[in-house]
Structure formats: C-alpha cells, structure tokens
Amino acid sequence: MRLEPKPAPSLAVTLSFPLAAIVTTLVLTSILVLVAGASPLSVFYLVAKGAAGSQFALMETLTRATPLIFTGLAIAVAFRARLWNIGAEAQLYMGGIVTVALGTGALPLPSFILIPVLMIAAMAAGALILLGPAVLKTRFGVDEVVTTLLLNFIVLLFVSMLLDGVLKDPMGLGWPQSQKVIAEAQLPRLIQGKRLHYGFVIAIAAAAVVWVITKKTLLGYEMRAVGHNAEGARFVGIPVNRVLMKTALLSGGLAALAGFSEVSGLKGNLTLDLSPGYGYTGIVVAMLAMLNPLGVVASAIFVAGIFVGADAMSRAAKVPSYIADVMVATSLLTMVVAILLTRFKIRWR
C-alpha cells in the first residue's frame, strides 16, 4: 500500500472526506447506542441539537472551545518548530495559579489595567514553566516529550499544595479551592445569563496574532525552518536555540492564557479540576488544524461541539455518558484519516 499525493483537490473532494468522517462517526456511535439498548435513529439529531440546536447549546459549545483554542494554538506553535510540548496542561495551570494569585485582591487596579496585567503575568508563568524543558532540550539533549509530560503531574501536585496552603480559600471550608478573583479581574460575559465570556474573543484574537506571526514574521519563518531541519537552519545562520526558546515562551504563554481565561472568565477561582485535559486535547485540536492557527479555531469548535452534543445526546438517549468521549475520539481518528485522504490517494501496490 502506498500513498500518492493528489494534484490540488477540488472543493467537493476537500469537503466530502471530512463529511464522510462525520457520517462514519455517527454510524459507529449509533451502533453503540443500539448496543446500549436505545434507539440509534435520532443520534444525529440529538448530537446536533445538543451542540448547536439552541442559543444555549451553541454558547456552551463555544465556551468549551475557548480553552481549546488557546491550548491548540500553544501546541500548533510548538509543533511547528518540532518542540514537542505535551505539557500544555501544566502551562494552563500555571496561568490559573498566577491569575488567582494576583487577581484576588493583591493588585487593586481597575479592570482595564488589571486584566491585561493578569494576562501578561499568566503568560509569563506558562512561558517559564515550558522554558525549563526547552533549556534541558537545547543544553542537555533531554527529550522534551517526557519532561513536559512529567511536569504536568508535578504542576498539578503543586496546585494541590497551593490550594491546601497559601492559595486556600479561607471561606472554602477546607475544600482545595482558591478564593474567587475580584470583580475587576473577571472577564465579562458576552451575553447576560450565558456562560460564554470575553475569553472567547481573546482566543480568536490570539489565533489571528499567531497566524500573523507564523505567516508574516521572521520568527514564524525561523520556527518553520527549525522545525523542518534544525541542522540546516543552524547552518544558514538561524539561531536555533534562541528560536526554540522564543517558541517555548510563546507556546507556554498561549497555553497559560487558557488557564487565565477559565479562571477569569468562567470559574472565578482555581480548583484541581480547572481543566479536564484541555492540554492534551489541544494536541488533537492543533493537529486536526494541521497546525494552522486559524484552523485551530475551527477544529476547537468542532471538538467542543462533538463533546457537548454527544454528552447531551447521552442524556436524551439515556445511554452512559461516556459515549461523549467515545464520539470525540472516533471523530478525531476518522477526521485525521479524512484529511489525509483529501491530499493523498491510497494505491494498493
């Protein structure tokens, strides 16, 4: 079996394969629903309704997409330079830590100053925690897949420690949770009474900025060169280690914004379950988008929509709610195959 590149696929082809992926996912999910003893016929309808069938559903989908856009961008930036950052989860929590450390009254500033300050501080924290693995990679040749992965555990335990200690909410009755951030530190909701908040807007803006960086700037060029051939990049005078450092800072900072936005926009405080694996899902989001920053927005909304829709479907169809994750996983795997098939033809022999 071999793959052959297709000459510039037509729009119909480009669209038909992802569509087929979604249909395949629905069919597979329907089978599971059938096995669970419920009617599979309405699965599609229920998923669509749950993901975007009402203003509420749509807002929920976008709310969930928000942190995924940030972590997806973080991964896209890093992977472009072949910096295998599996630690967006840790960076996200660092963002959360800083947001509550400074946002619970330590800085009595008006909102329009405080929020940018919090964002910058959060980014700095996330950047710093990824800088460690980046330095270890460039100076000592330590594999960053492993160090960033291990840091996820360490940072989560660190959060747990802070929530038992200095960041513990004195009014929290002993629960491992922080105080709420002050009103000035909160991102307003986009629509009154809905959960969607300005973090989403910031995420879109971040995607645009990252797009400009990767496509238009010297740094974007350098990152790509380093990603494709570090030795060659070094030869032509690109400061490879410095580029990796900058990439790490940008990537860690973006992931940290996810933590900032979840705390400041959605939860109000920091808990141990701030993220149900957004850092890992970010990898999926970024790769579905083929590392394109604007694509990240679309793929984050897609992944969030599948989850929210399938979760609602599980309740409506009365099947175990774990089917939502099954569906996310299936759609992810079928989708990457579909993307491949839009660009390559499979030749047997």
Binding site: L173, G174, W175, P176, R195, K267, T271, P276, D311, R315
Partner: protein
Amino acid sequence: AEPIKVAAVFTVPVEQQWVSRIHKAANAAKDRGEIEYVYSENTANNDYERVMREYCEAGHKLILGEVFGVEDAARAVARDYPDVAFLMGSSFKPDPDLPNFSVFDNYIQDASYLSGLVAGALTKSKNIGMVGGYPIPEVNRLMNAFMAGVKEVAPDTRFQVAFIGSWFDPPKAKETAFAQIDGGADLLYAERFGVSDAAKEKKVLAIGNVIDTQADYPDTVAASALWHFEPTLDKAIAEVKAGTFKADDYGVYSFMKNGGCSLAPLGTFEGKVPGEIKAKIAEKEKAIKDGSFTVAVDDSEPKSS
C-alpha cells in the same frame, strides 16, 4: 400520584462510596414508585452547570448532586429555574434568597465516633493507619470523630495519616495501607477503597466508612460507620410533593438521631469486641440520640501523631 422527575448529577462514578449512598436511596425511591430517576455520573466540574441546565430544561423537578467545586454556578442555575427544587451536597449554608436550593452533607461523625470506640478496643499495637483521598471537611470530620472515639478508649494511640491525592486509586491506597502496616499499624481506617484489601492480605483489622463492606471482608472489617441518605432524600421528596420545598440545611438528616447514620452491626466481630465496649457503645449511642452527648464536628486536617 405522578412520580416526581428526579435527576442526579455526580462528579464521580456511582460506585464511589459517598455517591453510592445517594444513588442507592434514589433507586429505592424509584423502586417504590415515588420518583422517576435519571443520573449523570463522572461529570467534570466544567460540565456541571451545563448538565444541570439540561436536566432543568428537560422538566425534572428535583435535582440532586454535589456542588463542592461549583457552588456559585449551581446557585445561578437555581436562580434561573425557580420552579425546580435543588438538593445539593455542599459545605455552605442555604440562602433564604434562593428558596429552591437546599444543601446536605455527610454529617456522620456520630457513627464514626462509635466506630472509633471499637477500634480503640481492638488495636493492640496502639497504632492506627488512616488513608484518605484529600483532606477536605467531609473526610477530616469523620477522621477526627473516629480519632476522638479511639482516644476515648485508648488515649495513647498513635495515628498514621496519609492522603493519596486521588479519590480513585485503590492500588495506591492499598500500597499506602501496606506502608502503614509496615509502620506498625494493626488496624486501618478504610476511608478509601483498597485499604481493607491491604488489611485482609496482611491479616490486620479495618474500620469501614460510609458503606458496610464486612460481607466482603468478614475477618477484617470490624465495624463500619454507615451513612443513610434515605432520611435526607425522603424528606426532600415529601417537601416537593407537598409543594413546600424551601431553602434548608438537610445536614441534620445525616445525624444519628435522625437515622442518617449508624454503626453497622458488628456481625462477625460480635464475639471479638469486649462486652464493656459494647456497653459503652450502646450508652453513647443512646446519649447521642437523646441529645445528651454531641460528637464535635471538627473539619481541620488530621495529622499523624
């Protein structure tokens, strides 16, 4: 009458001890035909509010759950659905401005205290191991009451306290228990799944918590402090039915005097617990029920001694 539509939103699987008691009570009410019952388990706090809203939209009249990490969001939902009754596990107090939102918690310190009396009598090495998930009030409270019970009988007992940083890692809990046995413990307070298994393997004793596991460990689990959610739930169902549901603290329905907790029958250990202790248990139980003795509610983190 029409059964009441009840929905529960749990942040952990229904096997988890704490939630299993709520689930059991709800299933019992369902079997009695009083309610229709659906639930979502293992719901992340991130999704909690959405799931609540979906249930409200779907026409459920009573929502059960545990909102320890999502207090504000849950109350916001309650505000948006004034016709739905909410009975939520929470460490906070009810708010009269939010008349449809009541709270409960597992105040079973009474039973834990009694189980401590048993433990104090049975430990020979005067060294007790305790393995917890996280040091939160719901856990600390029971551990402290248990320790108070032990000290009542055996004041010079040492305690080894460990938290494994997870609600769900029985192998880890088991390893931790092994370590405590290595450290001299001959009796374990089994706050987590896994601890009794270690006790069984190493032939030491265990005290159960929230649920009764003696059937699985007949030679190991000497006593258990049981939580009964039925009084709490039945009260709420009655209020909803009567249309009189209001903001209230249902915590008291977990108290022994209200039948919310009990010391499990000693069962296989009936003959092994000294008579004087049994008498003491009976005496304390009576005092608790008639209000002449109250077990202190102490939510601070227990430490090894």
